[in-house]
């Protein structure tokens, strides 16, 4: 069916920023591949502040104009053209991504320093993949139609899987392969849903689809397939099997990116599908299923985290639990009538949780990486004395943990408090019980680690490596960001609402 060329608004003034956000990292990847070797690190370090500036400018433009930024590639409009679109949510996610990538990049300069002579394979792969992940994430946040989002998701997967197996040990290759298989199943289900949408409504652009989608079986089938695929990629219980070995086996900076940012991209797409593609459709029953899976993830992930012997595995299982919180927003925010005050509250809570978990978890994985480097192992039972040897790192770990528990004044507190009050006000008190229990369990596993690290060692601790204060400072800065998120007043949260369907 050939559509007349629809013009949902024209390209906006700041539209070129959106192109830059995707093109800069991709250009960096291509240049790294062409120049090779030691240049990869230099290119990445030059592009990081530039990319952050682009993300900042995009956020500022959305905030100033209170409108969506749009760009149409080649001047072709949807349904045929490729649209980049930045609403408040995309802008905020881009900004958080930029900040985290810069922080993680600064941290990784020592671990993945390029050798003076010849070409280090791991550093080259790390810096190139870091840029590729950044490009993929920005494409996911800015993509305006379902098929481009599929391509963006695949770019992200192809960049994320090799990061898991950077050190080339058999077990990490196994973890990477398992991750890839889950991700492939997820993306093919997503694509199946997208083709169903195109077959039924003749469009893939989200703006056009949202006006055409009706409550009928084909739309439900499409959105169910896409959601199931995205859940496999987001590692929501019971699709979490791939996550702990992959995230715990990767080098610390890679784990921080994977756990903090990469799993947020499929979640972001589920939010797009449920609130933008199908706004105002009554899906309460389906949303309850997502909420139940989220609750199961919180309880299962936290309890298993408590029983881990290795620090990185503990943090990875805590990611499984924290992903559960993201999906609690669906039963609370999906309403037969959108624009309900508490539903907006719950939606914001879910998004704040995604952001604060990203920052806190990146800080915690980096801290765990430093601890493992200093001790030569990451067995929780033998952490005694590390609190005295690396006080700043352990403090950063604790501050990150504060956000996971949801203690004030952290970003996690704001997110969980919003979910909690939405649950109570809407009379769905059972989700409130889950939020509180999850916080208690999180406190359990964070205190477990802190208590061991602060204990006096039986014999004097011998560190196998000295850790530079600069790297500890980066970790502390990220952890402080996670705490400071709790001080963000509610007004900037309006930014998230820009461009949302009413």
């Amino acid at each position: 069916m050939i559509e007349p060329l629809l013009m949902p608004g024209s390209a906006t003034a700041g539209g070129f920023l959106l192109v830059l956000a995707v093109v800069l990292p991709v250009l960096g990847v291509l240049l790294s591949l062409a120049l090779g070797g030691r240049h990869a690190e230099r290119i990445a370090l030059i592009l990081m502040p530039a990319g952050l500036a682009v993300a900042g400018a995009t956020t500022a433009a959305v905030w100033r104009t209170r409108a969506v930024l749009q760009y149409f590639v080649g001047g072709w409009y949807p349904p045929l053209g490729v649209a980049f679109r930045a609403d408040g949510l995309s802008a905020v996610m881009m900004l958080v991504t930029g900040l985290l990538i810069c922080g993680i990049g600064l941290f990784a300069r020592v671990q993945f320093a390029s050798p003076e002579q010849g070409e280090g394979r791991a550093p080259f792969a790390f810096w190139t993949l870091l840029l590729a992940i950044w490009g993929g994430l920005n494409a996911v946040f800015l993509g305006g139609d379902l098929f481009n989002l599929y391509v963006a998701l695949e770019l992200l997967t192809f960049a994320a899987v090799p990061l898991v197996s950077l050190d080339g040990r058999a077990e990490t290759i196994k973890a990477a392969l398992r991750y890839l298989l889950f991700a492939l199943l997820g993306s093919i289900l997503y694509l199946l849903g997208a083709v169903l949408f195109y077959g039924a409504y003749g469009a893939l652009a989200i703006v056009i689809l949202s006006g055409r989608v009706r409550a009928e079986p084909v739309a439900w089938a499409a959105i169910a397939l896409m959601t199931a695929g995205l859940l496999a990629k987001a590692a929501l219980y019971p699709f979490h099997l791939w996550l702990p070995p992959a995230h715990a086996g990767a080098p610390a900076p890679a784990s921080a990116i994977l756990s903090g940012l990469v799993v947020k991209a499929p979640f972001f797409l589920v939010v797009r599908l449920w609130f933008d593609v199908m706004p105002g459709q009554p899906q309460q029953a389906a949303a309850q299923i997502l909420g139940t899976l989220g609750a199961a993830a919180i309880l299962f992930g936290s309890v298993v985290a408590l029983r881990q012997a290795r620090l990185k595995l503990l943090i990875a299982y805590s990611t499984v639990a924290q992903i559960g919180y993201l999906f609690l927003m669906f039963p609370l925010a999906v309403k037969p009538v959108t624009g309900h005050p508490w539903s907006t509250f719950a939606w914001t809570g879910g998004v704040v949780q995604a952001i604060s978990h990203a920052v806190a978890k990146a800080a915690m994985f980096l801290a765990a990486g430093l601890i493992a480097e200093a001790l030569g192992h990451d067995r929780i039972a033998r952490l005694a004395g590390i609190g005295r040897a690396l006080p700043v790192t352990v403090l950063a770990f604790g501050l990150g943990g504060l956000s996971l528990m949801g203690l004030p004044p952290s970003g996690g507190f704001v997110a969980k408090a919003m979910l909690l009050s939405a649950a109570v006000s809407e009379g769905q008190w059972w989700w409130a019980v889950v939020v509180l229990t999850g916080g208690l369990l999180a406190a359990g596993y964070v205190f477990l680690v802190l208590a061991r690290s602060l204990a006096d060692p039986v014999e004097p601790l011998r560190l196998s490596a000295t850790i530079s204060p600069g790297r500890q400072a980066v970790v502390l800065a990220l952890a402080l960001c996670a705490v400071l998120l709790g001080f963000v007043p509610l007004r900037p949260l309006e930014l998230l609402q820009i461009g949302r369907p009413v």
Binding site: L192, V195, Y198
Partner: protein, 102 residues
Amino acid sequence: MSIAILYGLCSAVLVGLGLFALITHPQPLRKILAFNLIGSGVFLLFGVVAHNGAAAGFGGDPVPQALVITGLVVAFASTALAVALLLRLFQETGRATLQSDD
């Protein structure tokens, strides 16, 4: 039975077979093949959609055809990545399974 329904059913069978194999077979190589089977089913469905959209006097809706080409490239790339990882795993351990040894 119209040709669209016939091809639609074929694609459903391919996706179903692939999903079944992907979930039940433990060997990674079979899982990769199963993924390709699902992919074929989905691409066939793109063909059905293109055929259905051909009402306006065209031989077929060109958009799904363009999408299929991209989809094929992506599926090819993912298969290559998966096989490369599997080969490396085989070189490292001498076995091509995902089962842990302990």
